[in-house]
């Protein structure tokens, strides 16, 4: 490991600062280049680790990639006993839960961000944002715990009423057992809202006052100013926050595993139990018997990695153009 060798390199510097100051500093004076190279090695070891990560995912999924090709993603048979692996139920579950989570989270998150940035007095806004950000630090396994013992009983109690109104829709049909795509999406939405709120609020606060004043001078109401002058100005940053939330939702493992039911099936109804890519890896990885089974699970990891990387890259790109926009405009 590269970093094993590097862990000691900080020690001599500190020792030099406290003890034997003169001699070590003498040597260090000629040693700018040494320090440069040591920190460079630390920085580049990150590149090495990331490259190793990609290489390992690629190499350790080769059996499954060779056996199934692209069909892997689009066939529905997941039968470890007979060596048949098709990932469609997991892909479907991952996409459905993440998209539904965003559908719930975007309006609520954006609404809160607008309130916190435009309406609330700065002190209250800061306090509430601190709270929301603190709760973003709650580990996902704890969201899962609360999901099992609070969210599932709550949704089970509320579902008859929801179904009375919306039961005619295919997506709300069927029996509700508590664990479902829907439950997972609600838990995911709660988990990603803090991301959307905290980033969008920052972006909204960064919109120049002149942008607001110009609209206000035209006789617009507060809402008009916010919706037509401030939000459009900040849209790239807001989109960036949504992409980050999406990437987080796609890769989220524990909370989803605990409330989605873990049944490898594809259902139209959101109230049916399902499965996601991250959940199947968490559940079956240590029980995978045989190389093909293990490689199929690692290929799922590779797919998850590739998709979240693309979305993260898009998010960064949006944030970057936002910054460039600020500088030039």
């Amino acid at each position: 490991m590269a970093h094993a060798a590097l862990t000691t390199s900080g020690a001599p510097n500190r020792a030099g600062r406290l003890g034997k100051k003169q001699t070590w500093l003498e040597r260090l004076r000629k040693g700018d280049e040494v320090v440069h190279l040591i920190t460079l090695a630390g920085a580049w070891s990150i590149l090495v680790i990331t490259a190793l990560l990609v290489q390992h995912l690629w190499v350790y999924s080769r059996l499954a990639r060779h056996a199934f090709g692209w069909h892997f993603l689009f066939t529905s048979t997941w039968d470890p006993v007979n060596g048949q692996f098709g990932a469609w139920p997991f892909v479907y579950g991952t996409v459905v839960t993440s998209v539904l989570a965003l559908i719930i989270a975007i309006p609520i998150g954006l609404g809160s961000a607008i309130f916190l940035a435009e309406l609330a007095p700065r002190k209250i806004s800061n306090a509430l944002t601190f709270l929301i950000e603190l709760l973003a630090a709650v580990p996902s396994v704890i969201y899962g715990l609360v999901g099992i013992f609070l969210m599932i009983p709550f949704l089970t109690a509320a579902m008859p009423y929801i179904q009375k109104v919306l039961g005619w829709l295919p997506i709300f049909s069927g029996t509700f057992y508590g664990v479902s795509y829907f439950t997972a999406s609600v838990v995911l939405a709660i988990m990603v809202i803090p991301f959307i709120v905290s980033i969008s609020r920052e972006v909204l606060l960064a919109v120049p006052v002149s942008q607001r004043e110009a609209m206000m001078a035209l006789g617009a109401t507060k809402w008009d100013v916010t919706w037509r002058a401030v939000v459009p100005y900040a849209r790239q940053g807001i989109m960036g926050s949504i992409f980050l939330a999406l990437a987080r939702a796609l890769g989220e493992t524990m909370a989803v595993t605990m409330v989605i039911g873990n049944v490898p099936q594809v259902s139209t109804s959101l109230l049916a139990p399902g499965y996601t890519i991250a959940a199947v890896i968490a559940n079956e990885f240590t029980e995978a018997t045989g190389d093909l089974y293990l490689h199929a699970l690692i290929e799922l990891g590779l797919v998850l990695f590739a998709v979240t990387m693309i979305i993260n890259a898009l998010a960064r790109l949006l944030m970057l153009t936002m910054k460039a926009h600020e500088v030039t405009g």
Binding site: G111, V146, A278, A282, T286
Partner: protein
């Protein structure tokens, strides 16, 4: 402003939409508070002394604890800090003090990439990197998995706090005849040390609750895990395993473990902010 402008309909839209945004905020804050209070309430009820000092009891017997998981989590975090933070520190110093051009861009971009890797994928990576060659799960593997996850935040916070050190301080050091590396180690880093410490503490708090990467690296253990090369229990994995079990005693243990984990995280997060505040106070006064 005349009474007819803006028209009533737009005033109405204004009021409705603005109240809706307030409602959204209320919803978010109350949902999050409910979660917190529910966990603290249930956890506090399930907590007792045995929880901290006993090993897990067999199903059906009461009075067990998770002392092994508490020790396991502390060992994993220590190992993660030792393996991940130095790389982050060096990388942060490099980006802030030396880098420029394509090298800085590559390192920064790769770090963001690494930060976005789903934690379960990190678990797979360390499984193939450490567990497969060693042929068994271990504290070492779990610590390395968490350590790699710590690198990006350690790097970015170190870089940010070093960059925040005023240029005049560096110039002062250089003007006194200090070399660049002397200036970095005797002026710039000491000036930013509280910020850097804060970043590291928040980083530890962030990975302390990670579960997915531990499932197939540290695995789990019903007993104490001697040394660093055996599978070990950890609080997050215990919460997961107990929460999905069908036994009520285990559910109680899961709540207690959640309580301990979350209060630990919150205490560290708040301490980190205090450290930062102290640093600010010192640099101003």
């Amino acid at each position: 402003m005349s009474a007819t402008y803006p028209p009533l309909s737009r005033k109405l839209v204004n009021i409705v939409m603005l109240s809706l945004t307030g409602l959204c905020t209320l919803l978010v804050v109350s949902a999050l508070l409910t979660i917190l209070v529910y966990l603290l309430w249930n956890g506090a009820h399930a907590l007792n002394l045995n929880f901290f000092i006993k090993l897990p009891a067999p199903v059906g017997q009461s009075g067990g604890g998770v002392s092994n998981a508490i020790v396991g989590t502390l060992k994993l975090l220590a190992l993660a800090t030792v393996s991940g933070v130095p790389i982050g520190l060096l990388g942060g110093i490099y980006l802030s003090e030396f880098a420029g051009g394509w090298s800085a861009f590559t390192v920064r971009y790769t770090t963001d990439l690494l930060n976005g890797v789903p934690s379960v994928v990190m678990g797979i990576f360390v499984y193939t990197l450490v567990v497969l060659p060693m042929h068994h799960f271990s504290t070492l593997a779990g610590g390395i998995a968490l350590g790699i996850m710590m690198i990006p935040i350690a790097l970015r916070s170190t870089e940010d706090f070093l960059r925040a050190v005023p240029r005049s301080l560096r110039e002062g050091g250089l003007a006194l005849g200090a070399s660049k590396s002397e200036t970095i180690f005797t002026i710039v880093i000491p000036a930013a040390i509280y910020g850097i410490l804060t970043g590291i503490m928040l980083d530890v708090a962030r990975v302390a609750g990670e579960t997915a990467p531990l499932l197939f690296t540290a695995f789990g253990n019903q007993f104490n895990s001697p040394g660093w090369l055996q599978p070990t229990a950890s609080l997050p994995v215990v919460i997961y395993n107990y929460a999905i079990s069908p036994y009520d005693e285990w559910h109680q243990q899961a709540w207690a473990a959640g309580f301990v984990l979350l209060s630990g995280l919150l205490v560290v997060s708040i301490l980190a902010r205090l450290v930062l505040a102290r640093g600010k106070k010192m640099s101003h006064g």
